[in-house]
Amino acid sequence: YFSSSSHRMSSDGKPATFQPPPKPVIIDRQQQREERRFLSPEFIPPRGRTDPLKFYIERKDMIQRRKVFNIPEFYVGSVLAVTTADPYASEKTNRFVGICIQRGGKGLGATFVLRNVIEDQGVEVCYELYSPRIQAIEVLKLEKRLDDNLMYLRDALPEYSTFDVNMKPVSRLDHEEIPLNKLQVRMKPKPWSKRWERPKYNIKGIKFELPEKKMKEAQKWSQPWLEFDMLREYDTSKIEEKIWKEVSEELKK
């Protein structure tokens, strides 16, 4: 065929050199993804003198359940939709949408509490993560909040706990960091179910509109020596590493 390269004359008058096409840039997402690892808090065994064999057997059962049913990653403060099997419901399934206010329990008895306000009535449901009655867990909005425990939402204005039952899942990219919602919640007038202004709860997500005198009085109950108490220390970093390796290997099989 007629090649045009031999006729191509550059401005210098020399024959044109072969210009290779630009190399495609390969962004290796795999490495970026593996940097962020999430170990569900119920895998970490509580501090105590029980035989680690018990936790090992429990972890095997938990992994077995996770292979059959996908339990997504979520934190306290993310909005979830859970469908459970209910013999008394029409179509035998029951779907509940709510914000996760607390994650408790370790091992197979791990629970999470979802809260929502339906028709001006606040409803909370405590679900067991590994219960066979749960048919699907969908994360509609994945985000973190300033606290580990959002029980104060019961005493906050109802607008902070209302979530649309038919809300669409909020899309997010895989390698992005989980957004931290620094929302400061406004409360109903006192009395509250617990005295949330006291330092033992260590809540950062409330906008306290109490007078300065009350805030100072609440600091009377602070126990600043607690954070230096060596008997209460529980360093989970090494345990987490071991368990993470174990769990990720088992799940890949």
Binding site: N94, F96, Q121, E124
Partner: protein, 122 residues
Amino acid sequence: SITGACRAIQKLTRVRVVDNSALGNTPYHRPPKCIHVYNKTGVGKVGDKILLAIKGEKKKALIVGHKMPGPTMTPRFDSNNVVLIEDNGNPVGTRIKTPIPYILRQKEGEFSKVLAIARNFV
């Protein structure tokens, strides 16, 4: 010994009437209070019948939700909800807007009429 405060319904608990009956919704200077629980123990849970004192009258009612946490997977409401009922089990109101737990469907025979007027289920 003294029993601790219970967030289920017992004698003298103030309740919130959830249906749209006239008795339940007209304002009165005293809140509706439970005066008797039709139960072996005096503690009323979801699905128990109680006697209410409303506007100077006695009326039977059915508990549809309480503040006390129950078994897992059952909902826990932020207020003690109650539906006014006649002696034969017929509800006084015509509509129930607040969500009702699915557990009530277990005793379909007694509460079928109450479940029929309920709109939302949890």
